[in-house]
């Protein structure tokens, strides 16, 4: 395919809420939930943050790492299920905020938690075809679960951005190939004008997450004739801390290959941001020659799998912007009352 990653960046809000804080309100057993979901706390957006502000911060970090002129970016795609406007693209706000306007194409994507990786594939095609020099794909969300719903423990906020360009000396990683697996599976949805999503409970597991993640991973491995031991790291979409470890195990990956990119236990499920922030956390520590498997999942349902080969360029670019760990370690824990006020669930 001859395309690669020229820059990447993330953003995670400062605030966190612990499982205990939420469980206390609903009379639930916090220890059981923490064990069941393999999760301690989740990120919470500040009252002046939304998907657009998160996308902009991640995009600015990606541009810093890439060290490119933003005017050379020919396409921006923002994937999210929580765009601030129903009609008015988040991508236009991002494009203006990184000074990439006006010579570019831009659009918003929506495919539950995999809209960001769908953007990466579009950019790969456009760069590969010579239509654009660089393309930027962003996955960002400020996800909400209905109060009292199990989703409330995990639905969090964050975003990741990737700049795709032709593979070469300025790349920090090559994208070897991609493979997608898509079906019509009603595991999770949100209807128009409704504030919270609905989901099929246990149905979200086997026929949805596992079927698509495993099929996409198998498809890519078959296409590239690679086996799990050919990869140094693997990152799977992480709606909770448990699913990705289970999926990895079924595919034949070890816990060690998965742990570097598993961030849900500390920040929750950042939806469209999740697999992209996971990839970023791995790039923050990977060495040239390392191979990374990335498999996203979006309810509805589909998975995009990528094989990424880290290049020498990583060393020079890594320190140009804050790392995932910097954002994870800098935090303020809030109580449930503050959380509901921040999320506009409490209105005076």
């Amino acid at each position: 395919m001859e395309v690669g990653i020229v820059g990447y960046g993330v953003y995670i809000p400062l605030y966190r809420i612990k499982v205990e804080e939420i469980a206390k309100v609903w009379g639930a057993d916090a220890e059981r939930i923490k064990r069941g979901l393999f999760l301690e706390e989740k990120s919470v957006p500040g009252p002046d943050e939304d998907t657009a502000t998160i996308a902009v911060e991640a995009a600015r970090n990606a541009v810093k790492r890439a060290g490119i002129n933003p005017q050379d970016i020919g396409a921006i795609y923002v994937g999210s299920e929580s765009h601030p406007y129903a009609v008015k693209p988040t991508a236009t706000i991002v494009a203006e905020a990184i000074e990439a306007t006006p010579d570019l194409t831009a659009a918003d994507y929506e495919f539950a938690c995999k809209a960001g990786t769908a953007g990466i594939q579009t950019c790969m095609g456009m760069v590969g075809a010579g239509m654009i020099k660089y393309g930027m794909a962003i996955g960002a969300d400020t996800a909400q679960g209905a109060p009292g719903d199990p989703l409330e423990y995990t639905a969090s906020a964050g975003g990741g951005a990737v700049i795709v360009g032709k593979d070469g000396s300025q790349c920090l990683a090559a994208i070897e190939d991609t493979y997608s697996y898509t079906t019509d599976t009603p595991d999770f949805w949100r209807r128009e004008m409704r504030p919270y999503p609905k989901h099929g409970g246990r149905f979200t597991g086997k026929p949805a997450y596992f079927k698509h993640v495993l099929s996409a991973a198998h498809g890519l491995l078959r296409k590239l004739q690679l086996a799990p031991q050919d990869f140094t790291y693997a990152v799977f979409h992480q709606p909770n801390g448990k699913f990705p470890l289970q999926a990895g195990k079924e595919l034949g990956f070890t816990k060690e290959q998965i742990m570097s990119g598993l961030l849900t236990p500390k920040i929750g499920n950042t939806y469209s941001g999740a697999s992209m922030i996971g990839l970023a956390a791995i790039l923050d520590q990977a060495k040239p020659g390392d191979r990374i498997l990335v498999v996203s999942f979006g309810s509805g349902a589909g998975s995009d799998a990528f094989s990424i080969l880290v290049r020498d360029g990583i060393e020079a670019k890594r320190d140009a912007a804050p790392m995932v760990a910097d954002y994870i370690n800098l935090k303020i824990n809030v109580d449930y009352a503050t959380y509901t006020k921040f999320r506009q669930l409490l209105v005076r």
Partner: protein
């Protein structure tokens, strides 16, 4: 604030684009289009500020105007940017007790407000402790 006025100010609100006088090198933010010292001989060009600076003074707003009540108490500060110009901005992601004069700050991109539930959303710069 009307939509056209906000739209005109997008370059300085999103990216701290001010102006610099090519004759005396003075930098202005918000942008000026006539240099007060050089007048007619001034040559003003767009100039992007780096977004880093320090707090020169600040106040804590407890009684907030409409639309900002839920953020109170919040810190409004006069910030001197490293390039020289001073501006007034909110210091976000902090409690009032954390802020001191002389603290280093950096620009962040945040929601500034909205015109009701069905109006436009305004974005722009705020600062956070660096």
């Amino acid at each position: 604030m009307g939509v056209p006025r906000f739209w005109r100010e997008i370059p300085n609100r999103y990216n701290l684009i001010g102006t610099r006088c090519g004759t005396c090198n003075k930098i202005f933010f918000p942008p000026r289009y006539i240099c007060p010292s050089c007048r007619r001989t001034g040559k003003l060009e767009p100039y992007k500020l780096g977004g880093k600076g320090k707090i020169v003074s600040y106040t804590v707003t407890y009684v907030a105007p409409n639309g900002f009540e839920d953020q109170a108490p919040y810190v409004m500060a006069i910030i001197e940017l490293d390039e020289g110009p001073k501006l007034t901005a909110q210091v976000t992601d902090c409690s009032p007790g954390q802020v001191r004069i002389g603290d280093r700050v950096e620009m962040v991109f945040r929601r500034m407000g909205q015109e009701g539930e069905d109006g436009p959303i305004y974005y722009g710069y705020k600062f956070r402790l660096a």
